[in-house]
Protein backbone atom coordinates (compact mmCIF):
# COMPACT_ATOMS: atom_id res chain seq x y z
CA UNK A 1 0.00 0.00 0.00
CA UNK A 2 1.08 3.48 -0.82
CA UNK A 3 0.09 4.84 2.58
CA UNK A 4 2.50 2.75 4.59
CA UNK A 5 5.05 5.50 4.88
CA UNK A 6 2.33 7.83 6.14
CA UNK A 7 0.93 5.51 8.78
CA UNK A 8 4.19 4.01 9.96
CA UNK A 9 5.92 7.28 10.58
CA UNK A 10 3.31 9.81 11.61
CA UNK A 11 4.58 13.22 12.47
CA UNK A 12 2.34 16.05 13.59
CA UNK A 13 3.61 19.57 13.98
CA UNK A 14 2.81 20.84 17.49
CA UNK A 15 0.60 23.63 16.14
CA UNK A 16 -1.44 21.11 14.13
CA UNK A 17 -2.27 18.88 17.07
CA UNK A 18 -5.77 20.30 17.64
CA UNK A 19 -8.21 21.43 14.95
CA UNK A 20 -8.84 25.05 15.90
CA UNK A 21 -11.88 25.64 13.70
CA UNK A 22 -14.82 23.78 15.18
CA UNK A 23 -18.27 22.79 14.00
CA UNK A 24 -19.26 26.46 14.42
CA UNK A 25 -16.90 27.34 11.56
CA UNK A 26 -18.67 24.63 9.57
CA UNK A 27 -22.00 26.31 10.27
CA UNK A 28 -20.78 29.77 9.35
CA UNK A 29 -20.30 29.12 5.62
CA UNK A 30 -23.33 26.82 5.69
CA UNK A 31 -25.63 29.58 6.91
CA UNK A 32 -23.93 32.32 4.85
CA UNK A 33 -24.37 30.13 1.79
CA UNK A 34 -28.09 29.85 2.40
CA UNK A 35 -28.24 33.65 2.80
CA UNK A 36 -26.73 34.16 -0.64
CA UNK A 37 -28.65 31.29 -2.24
CA UNK A 38 -32.06 32.38 -0.95
CA UNK A 39 -31.41 35.90 -2.18
CA UNK A 40 -30.49 34.62 -5.64
CA UNK A 41 -33.86 32.83 -5.80
CA UNK A 42 -35.67 36.07 -4.93
CA UNK A 43 -33.81 37.88 -7.72
CA UNK A 44 -34.99 35.24 -10.18
CA UNK A 45 -38.42 36.78 -9.70
CA UNK A 46 -37.59 40.43 -9.01
CA UNK A 47 -34.93 40.84 -11.68
CA UNK A 48 -35.30 38.00 -14.16
CA UNK A 49 -39.10 37.88 -13.98
CA UNK A 50 -39.45 34.15 -13.43
CA UNK A 51 -43.21 34.28 -12.78
CA UNK A 52 -43.23 30.68 -11.58
CA UNK A 53 -41.20 31.70 -8.53
CA UNK A 54 -43.69 34.35 -7.41
CA UNK A 55 -44.99 32.23 -4.46
CA UNK A 56 -41.52 32.07 -2.90
CA UNK A 57 -40.17 35.50 -3.93
CA UNK A 58 -41.04 37.30 -0.68
CA UNK A 59 -40.33 34.24 1.42
CA UNK A 60 -36.88 34.04 -0.18
CA UNK A 61 -35.83 37.58 0.60
CA UNK A 62 -37.11 37.44 4.21
CA UNK A 63 -35.50 34.02 4.72
CA UNK A 64 -32.25 35.47 3.43
CA UNK A 65 -32.51 38.34 5.91
CA UNK A 66 -33.27 36.01 8.84
CA UNK A 67 -30.40 33.70 7.92
CA UNK A 68 -28.10 36.71 7.49
CA UNK A 69 -29.03 38.03 10.92
CA UNK A 70 -27.80 34.72 12.41
CA UNK A 71 -24.76 34.26 10.15
CA UNK A 72 -22.35 35.72 12.69
CA UNK A 73 -23.80 33.75 15.62
CA UNK A 74 -21.45 30.76 15.05
CA UNK A 75 -18.49 33.14 15.04
CA UNK A 76 -19.66 34.62 18.32
CA UNK A 77 -19.84 31.15 19.89
CA UNK A 78 -16.53 30.08 18.39
CA UNK A 79 -14.51 33.13 19.41
CA UNK A 80 -15.62 32.75 23.05
CA UNK A 81 -15.08 36.46 23.59
CA UNK A 82 -18.10 38.44 22.37
CA UNK A 83 -16.05 41.56 21.65
CA UNK A 84 -13.88 39.64 19.20
CA UNK A 85 -16.90 38.64 17.11
CA UNK A 86 -18.15 42.20 17.26
CA UNK A 87 -14.73 43.55 16.31
CA UNK A 88 -14.73 41.96 12.89
CA UNK A 89 -17.84 43.93 11.97
CA UNK A 90 -17.06 47.14 13.88
CA UNK A 91 -13.46 47.45 12.73
CA UNK A 92 -13.40 46.34 9.10
CA UNK A 93 -10.07 46.62 7.34
CA UNK A 94 -9.36 46.45 3.62
CA UNK A 95 -5.90 45.03 4.30
CA UNK A 96 -7.14 41.90 6.06
CA UNK A 97 -8.97 39.02 4.40
CA UNK A 98 -10.70 38.29 7.71
CA UNK A 99 -11.59 41.87 8.66
CA UNK A 100 -12.71 42.64 5.10
CA UNK A 101 -15.79 40.67 6.12
CA UNK A 102 -16.99 43.77 8.02
CA UNK A 103 -17.40 45.71 4.78
CA UNK A 104 -18.91 42.87 2.77
CA UNK A 105 -21.33 41.65 5.42
CA UNK A 106 -22.47 45.18 6.39
CA UNK A 107 -23.03 46.20 2.78
CA UNK A 108 -24.95 43.05 1.93
CA UNK A 109 -27.13 43.24 5.04
CA UNK A 110 -27.83 46.91 4.29
CA UNK A 111 -28.97 46.07 0.76
CA UNK A 112 -31.09 43.21 2.05
CA UNK A 113 -32.65 45.23 4.86
CA UNK A 114 -33.62 48.13 2.59
CA UNK A 115 -34.87 45.66 -0.03
CA UNK A 116 -37.14 43.92 2.50
CA UNK A 117 -38.32 47.27 3.88
CA UNK A 118 -39.29 48.57 0.46
CA UNK A 119 -40.98 45.32 -0.57
CA UNK A 120 -43.11 45.24 2.57
CA UNK A 121 -43.66 48.99 2.92
CA UNK A 122 -47.19 48.85 1.48
CA UNK A 123 -48.12 46.20 4.04
CA UNK A 124 -46.39 48.08 6.87
CA UNK A 125 -48.16 51.34 6.00
CA UNK A 126 -51.51 49.57 5.73
CA UNK A 127 -51.05 47.94 9.13
CA UNK A 128 -49.88 51.22 10.66
CA UNK A 129 -53.30 52.58 9.72
CA UNK A 130 -55.39 49.59 10.79
CA UNK A 131 -53.49 48.16 13.78
CA UNK A 132 -54.44 49.14 17.30
CA UNK A 133 -52.60 49.58 20.58
CA UNK A 134 -48.86 48.95 20.79
CA UNK A 135 -48.78 47.31 17.36
CA UNK A 136 -49.82 50.59 15.79
CA UNK A 137 -46.68 52.18 17.29
CA UNK A 138 -44.54 49.27 16.11
CA UNK A 139 -45.78 49.58 12.53
CA UNK A 140 -45.44 53.38 12.58
CA UNK A 141 -41.84 52.95 13.71
CA UNK A 142 -41.25 50.32 11.00
CA UNK A 143 -42.69 52.78 8.46
CA UNK A 144 -40.20 55.37 9.81
CA UNK A 145 -43.11 57.70 10.50
CA UNK A 146 -44.19 57.93 6.86
CA UNK A 147 -47.61 56.31 6.77
CA UNK A 148 -48.85 57.14 3.30
CA UNK A 149 -47.90 55.90 -0.12
CA UNK A 150 -48.58 58.04 -3.15
CA UNK A 151 -48.78 56.34 -6.56
CA UNK A 152 -45.52 58.05 -7.50
CA UNK A 153 -43.85 56.79 -4.26
CA UNK A 154 -45.00 53.24 -5.06
CA UNK A 155 -43.49 53.56 -8.52
CA UNK A 156 -40.17 54.83 -7.06
CA UNK A 157 -40.17 51.93 -4.58
CA UNK A 158 -40.71 49.41 -7.37
CA UNK A 159 -37.72 50.77 -9.24
CA UNK A 160 -35.61 50.82 -6.11
CA UNK A 161 -36.48 47.19 -5.31
CA UNK A 162 -35.41 46.29 -8.82
CA UNK A 163 -32.17 48.27 -8.48
CA UNK A 164 -31.39 46.79 -5.06
CA UNK A 165 -32.07 43.29 -6.34
CA UNK A 166 -29.66 43.92 -9.21
CA UNK A 167 -27.03 45.28 -6.79
CA UNK A 168 -27.78 42.40 -4.42
CA UNK A 169 -26.75 39.73 -6.94
CA UNK A 170 -23.06 40.69 -7.06
CA UNK A 171 -23.21 41.51 -3.33
CA UNK A 172 -24.50 38.01 -2.54
CA UNK A 173 -21.88 36.50 -4.85
CA UNK A 174 -19.13 38.53 -3.17
CA UNK A 175 -20.42 37.61 0.31
CA UNK A 176 -20.15 33.90 -0.27
CA UNK A 177 -17.34 33.97 -2.79
CA UNK A 178 -15.41 35.79 -0.08
CA UNK A 179 -16.02 32.97 2.41
CA UNK A 180 -14.60 30.58 -0.17
CA UNK A 181 -11.71 32.95 -0.78
CA UNK A 182 -10.82 32.83 2.93
CA UNK A 183 -10.22 29.09 2.66
CA UNK A 184 -8.82 29.15 -0.88
CA UNK A 185 -6.22 31.74 0.10
CA UNK A 186 -4.67 29.61 2.86
CA UNK A 187 -1.69 28.49 0.84
CA UNK A 188 -0.18 26.22 3.51
CA UNK A 189 -3.15 23.86 3.30
CA UNK A 190 -3.39 21.94 0.01
CA UNK A 191 -6.95 20.79 0.78
CA UNK A 192 -8.04 24.44 0.87
CA UNK A 193 -5.61 26.30 -1.34
CA UNK A 194 -7.29 26.38 -4.73
CA UNK A 195 -8.68 29.24 -6.76
CA UNK A 196 -11.71 27.03 -7.40
CA UNK A 197 -12.74 27.41 -3.75
CA UNK A 198 -14.76 30.66 -4.12
CA UNK A 199 -16.57 29.22 -7.16
CA UNK A 200 -17.29 25.95 -5.37
CA UNK A 201 -18.55 27.78 -2.30
CA UNK A 202 -20.71 30.08 -4.39
CA UNK A 203 -22.42 27.35 -6.43
CA UNK A 204 -23.00 25.20 -3.37
CA UNK A 205 -24.36 28.31 -1.62
CA UNK A 206 -26.95 28.83 -4.34
CA UNK A 207 -27.78 25.12 -4.18
CA UNK A 208 -28.35 25.26 -0.42
CA UNK A 209 -30.47 28.44 -0.76
CA UNK A 210 -32.75 26.84 -3.35
CA UNK A 211 -32.97 23.64 -1.28
CA UNK A 212 -33.89 25.45 1.94
CA UNK A 213 -36.56 27.47 0.10
CA UNK A 214 -38.01 24.35 -1.54
CA UNK A 215 -38.27 22.72 1.86
CA UNK A 216 -39.70 25.82 3.52
CA UNK A 217 -42.26 26.29 0.75
CA UNK A 218 -43.43 22.67 0.87
CA UNK A 219 -43.50 22.73 4.67
CA UNK A 220 -45.47 25.99 4.86
CA UNK A 221 -47.93 24.80 2.21
CA UNK A 222 -48.46 21.59 4.15
CA UNK A 223 -48.91 23.49 7.39
CA UNK A 224 -51.31 26.04 5.89
CA UNK A 225 -53.22 23.37 3.97
CA UNK A 226 -52.39 25.02 0.66
CA UNK A 227 -51.76 23.04 -2.50
CA UNK A 228 -48.15 23.79 -3.52
CA UNK A 229 -47.95 25.63 -6.83
CA UNK A 230 -46.84 22.94 -9.28
CA UNK A 231 -44.99 25.37 -11.53
CA UNK A 232 -43.16 26.90 -8.56
CA UNK A 233 -41.95 23.50 -7.32
CA UNK A 234 -41.02 22.51 -10.87
CA UNK A 235 -39.08 25.74 -11.34
CA UNK A 236 -37.29 25.36 -7.99
CA UNK A 237 -36.43 21.75 -8.86
CA UNK A 238 -35.03 22.77 -12.24
CA UNK A 239 -32.91 25.47 -10.64
CA UNK A 240 -31.78 23.07 -7.94
CA UNK A 241 -30.82 20.41 -10.48
CA UNK A 242 -28.93 22.89 -12.66
CA UNK A 243 -26.97 24.50 -9.83
CA UNK A 244 -26.33 21.14 -8.13
CA UNK A 245 -24.91 19.85 -11.40
CA UNK A 246 -22.65 22.89 -11.60
CA UNK A 247 -21.58 22.55 -7.95
CA UNK A 248 -20.81 18.84 -8.33
CA UNK A 249 -18.90 19.41 -11.56
CA UNK A 250 -16.78 22.17 -9.97
CA UNK A 251 -16.10 20.04 -6.90
CA UNK A 252 -15.19 17.08 -9.10
CA UNK A 253 -12.92 19.18 -11.33
CA UNK A 254 -11.08 20.41 -8.27
CA UNK A 255 -10.42 16.98 -6.78
CA UNK A 256 -9.67 15.37 -10.15
CA UNK A 257 -7.17 18.12 -10.86
CA UNK A 258 -5.33 17.40 -7.61
CA UNK A 259 -5.57 13.64 -8.17
CA UNK A 260 -4.24 13.82 -11.73
CA UNK A 261 -1.37 16.17 -10.88
CA UNK A 262 -0.30 13.90 -8.01
CA UNK A 263 1.86 16.53 -6.45
CA UNK A 264 3.44 15.94 -3.06
CA UNK A 265 0.20 16.65 -1.18
CA UNK A 266 -1.84 13.99 -3.01
CA UNK A 267 -0.78 11.10 -0.82
CA UNK A 268 -2.14 12.80 2.28
CA UNK A 269 -5.33 14.01 0.58
CA UNK A 270 -5.94 10.53 -0.81
CA UNK A 271 -5.43 9.02 2.63
CA UNK A 272 -7.70 11.71 4.11
CA UNK A 273 -10.53 10.94 1.69
CA UNK A 274 -10.21 7.18 2.04
CA UNK A 275 -9.93 7.10 5.83
CA UNK A 276 -10.93 10.13 7.89
CA UNK A 277 -13.50 11.51 5.44
CA UNK A 278 -14.60 8.21 3.96
CA UNK A 279 -18.15 8.51 5.28
CA UNK A 280 -18.64 12.26 5.16
CA UNK A 281 -17.09 12.68 1.70
CA UNK A 282 -17.69 9.53 -0.29
CA UNK A 283 -20.95 8.40 1.27
CA UNK A 284 -22.64 11.64 2.32
CA UNK A 285 -21.30 14.27 -0.04
CA UNK A 286 -20.83 12.24 -3.21
CA UNK A 287 -23.32 9.36 -3.16
CA UNK A 288 -26.22 10.46 -0.94
CA UNK A 289 -25.94 14.21 -1.43
CA UNK A 290 -24.87 14.50 -5.08
CA UNK A 291 -25.52 11.42 -7.23
CA UNK A 292 -28.87 10.52 -5.68
CA UNK A 293 -30.51 13.97 -6.03
CA UNK A 294 -28.99 14.43 -9.49
CA UNK A 295 -30.75 11.23 -10.54
CA UNK A 296 -34.01 11.98 -8.71
CA UNK A 297 -34.45 15.68 -9.38
CA UNK A 298 -35.31 15.29 -13.09
CA UNK A 299 -38.58 13.66 -11.91
CA UNK A 300 -40.06 16.81 -10.32
CA UNK A 301 -38.10 19.10 -12.64
CA UNK A 302 -38.87 17.71 -16.07
CA UNK A 303 -41.43 14.91 -15.88
CA UNK A 304 -45.00 15.85 -16.82
CA UNK A 305 -46.59 12.45 -16.31
CA UNK A 306 -46.10 11.86 -12.60
CA UNK A 307 -48.68 12.96 -10.05
CA UNK A 308 -48.15 16.33 -8.36
CA UNK A 309 -48.02 14.82 -4.86
CA UNK A 310 -45.31 12.37 -5.87
CA UNK A 311 -43.27 15.03 -7.64
CA UNK A 312 -43.47 17.36 -4.66
CA UNK A 313 -42.46 14.57 -2.29
CA UNK A 314 -39.44 13.78 -4.46
CA UNK A 315 -38.58 17.50 -4.60
CA UNK A 316 -38.73 17.67 -0.79
CA UNK A 317 -36.58 14.57 -0.36
CA UNK A 318 -34.03 15.93 -2.85
CA UNK A 319 -33.95 19.26 -1.01
CA UNK A 320 -33.11 17.42 2.22
CA UNK A 321 -30.42 15.37 0.46
CA UNK A 322 -28.91 18.49 -1.06
CA UNK A 323 -28.85 20.24 2.32
CA UNK A 324 -27.02 17.17 3.66
CA UNK A 325 -24.61 17.39 0.72
CA UNK A 326 -23.78 21.02 1.37
CA UNK A 327 -23.43 20.46 5.13
CA UNK A 328 -21.11 17.51 4.43
CA UNK A 329 -19.13 19.60 1.94
CA UNK A 330 -18.67 22.38 4.53
CA UNK A 331 -17.63 19.78 7.12
CA UNK A 332 -15.20 18.11 4.74
CA UNK A 333 -13.60 21.42 3.83
CA UNK A 334 -13.45 23.03 7.27
CA UNK A 335 -12.79 20.05 9.54
CA UNK A 336 -11.20 17.84 6.87
CA UNK A 337 -8.59 20.47 6.13
CA UNK A 338 -7.48 20.39 9.76
CA UNK A 339 -7.36 16.62 10.17
CA UNK A 340 -3.90 16.25 8.66
CA UNK A 341 -0.72 17.91 9.79
CA UNK A 342 1.08 20.34 7.50
CA UNK A 343 3.89 17.79 7.65
CA UNK A 344 1.57 15.72 5.38
CA UNK A 345 2.63 12.80 7.57
CA UNK A 346 0.09 12.50 10.30
CA UNK A 347 -3.59 12.79 11.14
CA UNK A 348 -5.28 14.27 14.17
CA UNK A 349 -8.75 13.77 15.62
CA UNK A 350 -11.65 16.19 15.87
CA UNK A 351 -13.78 15.07 18.83
CA UNK A 352 -17.40 16.13 18.39
CA UNK A 353 -19.09 17.06 21.66
CA UNK A 354 -22.79 17.02 22.32
CA UNK A 355 -22.77 19.79 24.86
CA UNK A 356 -20.81 22.98 25.37
CA UNK A 357 -20.57 26.18 23.43
CA UNK A 358 -19.31 24.43 20.31
CA UNK A 359 -21.19 21.16 20.65
CA UNK A 360 -23.82 19.55 18.46
CA UNK A 361 -26.64 20.86 20.63
CA UNK A 362 -25.39 24.45 20.28
CA UNK A 363 -25.06 23.88 16.52
CA UNK A 364 -28.66 22.69 16.34
CA UNK A 365 -29.80 25.79 18.23
CA UNK A 366 -27.81 28.03 15.87
CA UNK A 367 -29.40 26.32 12.86
CA UNK A 368 -32.86 26.72 14.40
CA UNK A 369 -32.40 30.42 15.18
CA UNK A 370 -33.02 31.71 11.61
CA UNK A 371 -36.22 29.67 11.48
CA UNK A 372 -37.34 31.20 14.78
CA UNK A 373 -36.59 34.65 13.35
CA UNK A 374 -38.51 33.75 10.19
CA UNK A 375 -41.47 32.71 12.30
CA UNK A 376 -41.24 36.08 14.08
CA UNK A 377 -41.05 37.93 10.76
CA UNK A 378 -44.12 36.06 9.57
CA UNK A 379 -46.03 37.33 12.58
CA UNK A 380 -45.40 40.97 11.79
CA UNK A 381 -45.11 40.96 7.99
CA UNK A 382 -47.30 39.27 5.35
CA UNK A 383 -44.56 36.87 4.28
CA UNK A 384 -46.92 33.92 4.16
CA UNK A 385 -49.23 32.96 2.56
CA UNK A 386 -48.20 34.69 -0.69
CA UNK A 387 -50.79 37.31 -1.64
CA UNK A 388 -51.11 38.42 -5.28
CA UNK A 389 -51.58 42.10 -4.31
CA UNK A 390 -48.39 42.51 -2.32
CA UNK A 391 -46.43 40.53 -4.89
CA UNK A 392 -47.45 42.75 -7.76
CA UNK A 393 -46.59 45.82 -5.71
CA UNK A 394 -42.94 44.87 -5.48
CA UNK A 395 -42.19 43.71 -8.97
CA UNK A 396 -40.94 46.17 -11.53
Amino acid sequence: MEFHALHDAPFIFPNDAHPAWSIMIVLYPYITGMVAGAFVVSTMYHVFHREALRPVAHLAVVTSLCLGACATLPLLLHLHQPLRAFNVVATPSPTSAMAGFGFIYSFYMLVLLVDVWLIFRPAIVERAATATGAWRGVYRALALGVVEITPRAAEIDRRLVYALSVIGIPAACVLHGYVGFLFGAIKANPWWSTSMMPVIFLTSAIVSGIAVLTLLYLFLCQRSDIEPDAECVRSLSRLLWMFLLLAVVFEAIDILHVAYEREEEWHVIRALLSTKLRFSYLTLQVVIGSILPLLLLPLPAFSGRLGAGFRHSIAGVCAVLVLVQVAAMRWNVVVGGQLFSKSFRGFVEYPVDWFGREGLLAAAVVLAMPMVLLWGAMQILPVWPPSPESESGAKS
Binding site: F11, A17, W117, R121, A143, L144, T150, A153
Partner: protein, 182 residues
Protein backbone atom coordinates in the same frame (compact mmCIF):
# COMPACT_ATOMS: atom_id res chain seq x y z
CA UNK B 1 -43.28 65.31 -11.30
CA UNK B 2 -41.85 63.95 -8.06
CA UNK B 3 -42.78 65.92 -4.95
CA UNK B 4 -41.20 65.78 -1.51
CA UNK B 5 -44.19 63.79 -0.34
CA UNK B 6 -43.31 61.02 -2.79
CA UNK B 7 -39.77 60.65 -1.46
CA UNK B 8 -40.35 61.49 2.21
CA UNK B 9 -39.91 57.85 3.26
CA UNK B 10 -36.59 57.68 1.42
CA UNK B 11 -35.33 60.78 3.22
CA UNK B 12 -36.36 59.17 6.52
CA UNK B 13 -34.58 55.99 5.48
CA UNK B 14 -31.51 57.98 4.44
CA UNK B 15 -31.46 59.76 7.81
CA UNK B 16 -31.67 56.43 9.67
CA UNK B 17 -28.89 54.91 7.59
CA UNK B 18 -26.74 58.02 8.00
CA UNK B 19 -27.23 57.83 11.78
CA UNK B 20 -26.27 54.14 11.80
CA UNK B 21 -23.27 54.86 9.58
CA UNK B 22 -22.18 57.72 11.83
CA UNK B 23 -22.44 55.54 14.94
CA UNK B 24 -20.48 52.84 13.11
CA UNK B 25 -17.72 55.27 12.21
CA UNK B 26 -17.49 56.58 15.77
CA UNK B 27 -17.40 53.03 17.16
CA UNK B 28 -14.72 52.05 14.65
CA UNK B 29 -12.61 55.09 15.51
CA UNK B 30 -12.90 54.30 19.21
CA UNK B 31 -12.12 50.62 18.79
CA UNK B 32 -9.20 50.72 16.39
CA UNK B 33 -6.02 51.38 18.43
CA UNK B 34 -4.22 54.64 17.57
CA UNK B 35 -1.03 52.90 16.53
CA UNK B 36 -2.75 50.28 14.40
CA UNK B 37 -1.22 50.11 10.94
CA UNK B 38 1.79 52.39 11.55
CA UNK B 39 4.22 49.47 11.12
CA UNK B 40 1.98 47.05 9.26
CA UNK B 41 -1.50 45.56 9.65
CA UNK B 42 -1.20 45.19 13.42
CA UNK B 43 -1.04 47.28 16.62
CA UNK B 44 2.51 48.64 16.68
CA UNK B 45 2.73 48.73 20.49
CA UNK B 46 1.97 44.98 20.55
CA UNK B 47 5.66 44.48 19.77
CA UNK B 48 6.67 46.22 23.01
CA UNK B 49 4.01 44.30 24.96
CA UNK B 50 5.34 41.00 23.64
CA UNK B 51 8.97 42.02 24.25
CA UNK B 52 8.09 42.86 27.87
CA UNK B 53 6.84 39.31 28.58
CA UNK B 54 9.23 37.14 30.61
CA UNK B 55 11.21 34.69 28.52
CA UNK B 56 10.31 31.05 29.13
CA UNK B 57 13.16 29.55 27.19
CA UNK B 58 16.38 28.86 29.09
CA UNK B 59 19.63 29.08 27.17
CA UNK B 60 21.82 25.96 27.52
CA UNK B 61 24.38 28.14 29.32
CA UNK B 62 21.88 28.55 32.17
CA UNK B 63 21.70 24.76 32.58
CA UNK B 64 25.47 24.34 32.24
CA UNK B 65 26.06 26.83 35.06
CA UNK B 66 25.11 23.99 37.45
CA UNK B 67 25.36 20.92 35.24
CA UNK B 68 28.97 21.43 34.12
CA UNK B 69 29.50 17.67 33.77
CA UNK B 70 26.79 17.54 31.10
CA UNK B 71 28.45 20.37 29.22
CA UNK B 72 31.68 18.45 29.35
CA UNK B 73 29.97 15.22 28.31
CA UNK B 74 28.37 16.87 25.27
CA UNK B 75 31.40 18.87 24.19
CA UNK B 76 32.38 18.04 20.62
CA UNK B 77 29.66 15.38 20.32
CA UNK B 78 26.68 15.22 17.98
CA UNK B 79 24.24 16.52 20.58
CA UNK B 80 26.31 19.53 21.60
CA UNK B 81 23.96 21.85 19.73
CA UNK B 82 20.72 20.15 20.77
CA UNK B 83 18.92 22.37 23.23
CA UNK B 84 18.57 20.95 26.77
CA UNK B 85 14.88 21.90 26.65
CA UNK B 86 14.27 19.42 23.84
CA UNK B 87 14.64 16.41 26.15
CA UNK B 88 14.18 18.02 29.58
CA UNK B 89 11.46 20.67 29.25
CA UNK B 90 11.60 24.41 29.74
CA UNK B 91 12.58 24.07 33.43
CA UNK B 92 11.40 27.57 34.28
CA UNK B 93 10.39 26.66 37.84
CA UNK B 94 13.47 24.46 38.22
CA UNK B 95 15.87 27.29 37.34
CA UNK B 96 14.02 29.80 39.51
CA UNK B 97 14.15 27.36 42.44
CA UNK B 98 17.82 26.61 41.81
CA UNK B 99 18.62 30.32 41.93
CA UNK B 100 16.78 30.64 45.22
CA UNK B 101 18.58 27.51 46.43
CA UNK B 102 21.94 29.12 45.69
CA UNK B 103 21.16 31.69 48.40
CA UNK B 104 18.97 29.63 50.70
CA UNK B 105 20.35 26.14 51.53
CA UNK B 106 16.97 25.05 52.93
CA UNK B 107 15.49 25.05 49.41
CA UNK B 108 15.56 21.55 47.98
CA UNK B 109 14.94 20.83 44.33
CA UNK B 110 12.45 18.09 43.46
CA UNK B 111 13.78 15.40 41.14
CA UNK B 112 12.92 15.50 37.45
CA UNK B 113 9.83 13.55 36.42
CA UNK B 114 9.59 10.88 33.74
CA UNK B 115 8.44 12.30 30.42
CA UNK B 116 4.66 11.73 30.09
CA UNK B 117 4.86 11.03 26.36
CA UNK B 118 3.19 14.29 25.36
CA UNK B 119 5.26 16.59 23.15
CA UNK B 120 3.13 19.48 24.41
CA UNK B 121 3.57 18.45 28.03
CA UNK B 122 3.12 21.05 30.73
CA UNK B 123 5.69 19.33 32.95
CA UNK B 124 8.40 21.80 33.99
CA UNK B 125 11.35 19.39 34.15
CA UNK B 126 11.54 15.81 32.96
CA UNK B 127 13.90 13.15 31.68
CA UNK B 128 13.03 11.32 28.52
CA UNK B 129 14.53 8.04 27.46
CA UNK B 130 11.53 7.37 25.24
CA UNK B 131 12.36 6.41 21.67
CA UNK B 132 9.72 8.89 20.50
CA UNK B 133 12.01 11.71 21.64
CA UNK B 134 14.96 10.29 19.69
CA UNK B 135 12.87 9.51 16.62
CA UNK B 136 11.41 13.00 16.52
CA UNK B 137 14.77 13.93 14.97
CA UNK B 138 16.35 10.70 13.78
CA UNK B 139 13.60 8.83 11.99
CA UNK B 140 14.38 8.79 8.29
CA UNK B 141 12.18 11.14 6.30
CA UNK B 142 12.40 11.93 2.61
CA UNK B 143 14.44 15.08 2.07
CA UNK B 144 16.72 14.83 5.12
CA UNK B 145 20.33 15.93 4.56
CA UNK B 146 22.53 13.02 3.43
CA UNK B 147 24.93 13.35 6.36
CA UNK B 148 22.24 13.52 9.04
CA UNK B 149 22.08 10.44 11.26
CA UNK B 150 18.73 8.98 10.29
CA UNK B 151 17.38 5.48 10.70
CA UNK B 152 14.67 3.17 9.49
CA UNK B 153 13.67 2.08 12.99
CA UNK B 154 12.80 -1.59 12.39
CA UNK B 155 15.80 -2.13 10.13
CA UNK B 156 18.20 -0.37 12.50
CA UNK B 157 17.07 -2.34 15.55
CA UNK B 158 17.34 -5.60 13.62
CA UNK B 159 20.77 -4.79 12.25
CA UNK B 160 22.08 -3.77 15.65
CA UNK B 161 20.51 -6.77 17.37
CA UNK B 162 18.51 -4.86 19.95
CA UNK B 163 17.62 -7.20 22.81
CA UNK B 164 14.30 -5.43 23.51
CA UNK B 165 13.26 -3.81 20.25
CA UNK B 166 9.72 -3.13 21.50
CA UNK B 167 10.86 -1.31 24.64
CA UNK B 168 10.27 2.45 24.74
CA UNK B 169 13.87 2.82 26.01
CA UNK B 170 15.46 0.59 23.41
CA UNK B 171 17.67 3.39 22.03
CA UNK B 172 19.44 3.58 25.39
CA UNK B 173 20.62 -0.01 25.10
CA UNK B 174 23.46 1.38 22.93
CA UNK B 175 23.31 5.17 23.03
CA UNK B 176 23.49 7.83 25.69
CA UNK B 177 21.51 11.02 25.63
CA UNK B 178 24.35 13.46 26.08
CA UNK B 179 27.18 11.47 24.55
CA UNK B 180 25.37 9.53 21.85
CA UNK B 181 28.23 7.39 20.61
CA UNK B 182 27.38 3.66 20.85
Amino acid sequence: MTSFNDTRHLWALGACLAAVGLVGMVVRREMVPDDFGTKGPYRASALDDIAAQPSLFQADATCHACHASVEHERAGKSHETVSCAHCHGLAVDHVAMARRGAEDPTVTLPPAAEWDGDFLTKADLYISKDRATCLSCHEAVVGMPADFKKIDVALHLEEQGASEPLSRETCFECHGGHDTAP
